[in-house]
């Protein structure tokens, strides 16, 4: 059955039908031919026995007087009359015997071979209904007169010719059966190749549909085929399955689009809320700055007045000076916040131009020498580095970085300012030796965060400088990062900006 497994279903069905037909027809042919052979042989022997028994009876009847009057010559003549049958029948031997078995007269067909004749002589009379169906057929008839048995006639025939004819007939029959087998085979091929479609077509259609579904992911495919058998049920089941997948797909798509809409709506809501909060904060800041500015002016003028009226009272002068310091800090704070706000709003208004970072650094460092005479500034600049940016803002960025470095610089150590191109980016770096960076480096760049020791608090660091650096770098499409110096203790601030073109 292994070879069947490899065939297609169409060929499999035809092969099954053909195999079954062949086996059945062959079996039938064998059974029919065998039973026919046995039946024909039996009826042949029966027919011959009857025919020859009649002949024996005639001879016996004619030989009654010869037996009674002991006339062997006449009996012999009677038997010799059989000579005319020699070539029509296959008589081998004819003989007449006395009741005691003694031979009375005998005729031997001359044309038979002697061996066969000798064999025939040895034959006795068979019992009735005892058909041996051998090559030699002995037939006997009793010779009776007045109820007295005078003797027997014994005829022995050779059945070879008859059996040959029988065999020829059977072979012809076998050929007919084989012919029928071939015709049946052909018909089976034709019929089964048509009928097998009843089974194979639905399966092939299903297979095509499955192929289409798996290749195109098209779940709208339906198999249109109606039959009431198991294959019909299979088709219905297949269609149901596809329908379920399709409806599930539709639901999934619906859910996902709903989800997207919801996310978009929620995002818009959040953005709007954020915008309102920022607006509110901005308004609050503007209001507070304005009111506080007015208040500080009032406090300042009042303090001046008190100072003039106190007539150099030393005790009062001490308190007034402390109050003045606080008011000045407040004014500076207001100024810084104001400049940060202005900077943020100016990002949207100021346009970017092509400028040379190297040149910018070189010019500014000259100014820094005047501004920070105690600091040792070293510049490391290469060729022209062109970036798109706002000159004022970039100068502001460098100012803040250098100011930060000067603030944290250990006494007598240099501050190194570098401008270079690295990985197709413009890099502006400021390094100083001194205190190491805090663990949480990213927080340094947030608004109003100062990681400075409390001892430096009296200096004017409001946690604004690095925040502004970050704002400007990001406004130019870049970024800023801080890291420890590799060898000595200190900090390195690196600002990366995209190159022009």
């Amino acid at each position: 059955m292994h070879f069947l497994a490899k065939l297609s279903i169409t060929r499999k069905l035809i092969a099954i039908t053909l195999l079954t037909t062949t086996v059945v027809v062959l079996l039938m042919a064998v059974v029919i031919v065998f039973s026919e052979a046995i039946t024909q042989k039996r009826s042949l022997y029966q027919k011959r026995t009857e025919q020859f028994a009649a002949l024996a009876e005639i001879i016996g009847s004619r030989s009654t007087a010869a037996l009674i009057f002991d006339d062997r010559a006449t009996a012999q003549e009677n038997l010799n009359a059989l000579r005319i049958l020699d070539h029509d029948t296959d008589l081998v031997l004819a003989s007449i015997h006395r009741p005691d078995g003694m031979l009375f007269a005998e005729y031997q067909a001359s044309h038979r071979d002697s061996q066969l004749r000798e064999q025939a002589v040895a034959y006795g009379c068979p019992e009735p209904d005892q058909n041996q169906m051998e090559r030699l057929l002995p037939v006997c008839a009793a010779i009776m007169l007045d109820g007295e048995r005078l003797g027997d006639v014994r005829l022995v025939f050779d059945m070879t010719t008859d059996l040959q004819q029988l065999r020829t007939g059977l072979i012809r029959y076998l050929f007919l059966v084989l012919l029928f087998l071939i015709v049946a085979f052909g018909l089976t091929v034709i019929i089964s190749s048509r009928l097998q479609r009843l089974v194979s077509t639905p399966i092939l259609v299903l297979r095509e549909a499955m192929k289409k579904v798996s290749e195109d992911k098209d779940y709208s495919v339906r198999v249109t085929l109606s039959s009431d058998d198991e294959l019909g049920a299979l088709v219905v089941g297949f269609n149901d399955m596809l329908a379920q997948i399709q409806s599930r797909d539709a639901k999934l798509a619906q859910y996902s689009s709903q989800l997207e809409d919801e996310i978009a709506a929620r995002t818009a809501e959040l953005a709007e809320a954020n915008r309102r909060r920022i607006l509110w904060l901005e308004n609050l800041a503007r209001f507070l700055r304005h009111e506080l500015k007015n208040s500080t002016i009032g406090i300042k003028s009042s303090l001046d007045l008190i100072e003039r009226r106190s007539q150099q009272n030393e005790k009062i002068a001490k308190y007034i000076e402390r109050a003045n310091t606080s008011v000045s800090f407040m004014q500076r704070l207001l100024e810084s916040v104001g400049s940060a706000t202005t900077l943020e709003t100016s990002f949207q208004q100021e346009s970017h131009i092509r400028l040379d970072l190297t040149q910018l650094v070189t010019q500014q460092v000259q100014n820094y020498h005047a501004l920070y005479p105690q600091a040792e500034l070293i510049t490391e600049c290469g060729n022209v580095i062109e970036v798109l940016g706002n000159h004022t803002h970039l100068v502001q960025l460098l100012d803040k970085l250098v100011a930060n470095a000067v603030d944290h610089c250990a006494l007598g150590t240099p501050i190194i300012i570098t401008a270079k191109i690295e990985n197709d980016q413009a890099v502006l770096a400021v390094a100083n030796q001194g205190a190491s960076l805090p663990d949480d480096k990213e927080r340094m760049f947030e608004l109003f965060v100062s990681m400075r020791d409390a001892t430096h608090r009296e200096n004017d660091n409001l946690g604004l400088g690095l925040y502004l650096v970050k704002l400007i770098a990001e406004a130019h499409g870049g970024g800023v990062m801080a890291e420890e110096l590799p060898v000595v203790q200190g900090a390195l601030f690196t600002c990366r900006l995209p190159l022009a073109d």
Partner: protein, 185 residues
Amino acid sequence: MAVLNAHCAIALLVTTFLLPPKLPAADDNAPAADVYALMAVYVQNFAKFTTWPASSFADPDAALNICVLGEDPFGIALAKVDGSKVRSHALRIKHYPRVVVISGCHIVFVSRSEDWRLEQILQDLAGAPILTVSDIPEFSQQGGMITLLTVDRRLRFAINPAAVARGGLKLSSKLLELAQIVGSG
């Protein structure tokens, strides 16, 4: 030796009974007694192949009479036949010295002793449904029906079908087949 003797005895017995009976050397005038014994059987067997007219028998089971005319040459051989049956008829043996007293006979065996007046006898029996048998030479040629004769030391017979027909009898063709057919001279 005793065994050998027994074998010899059986062989002798077989030879005596199974071999076809050979007639002893016959003298023309008088066959031997054992030939007459065989003739007695022949006469009985003739009855089996002869059909008499229905009128010959009073009833179907009536006796079939065999009459010996003249001196009986059979001795006890024919007497043995007496009482045996041919078809439905029992055989009866009768002896008559002369034709005139014959009655109820179906077969008449004419003894050689009657040779001298055979012509008269045949005349007397002519036309009667009686099967006439004799071992007198030329019996059938003179108008008798069956003549028993010896050929090659075998007992044979001659039949005169015309005489049989005149007597209104019928002989089986099987019998005629074995016989020499002769006509009245």
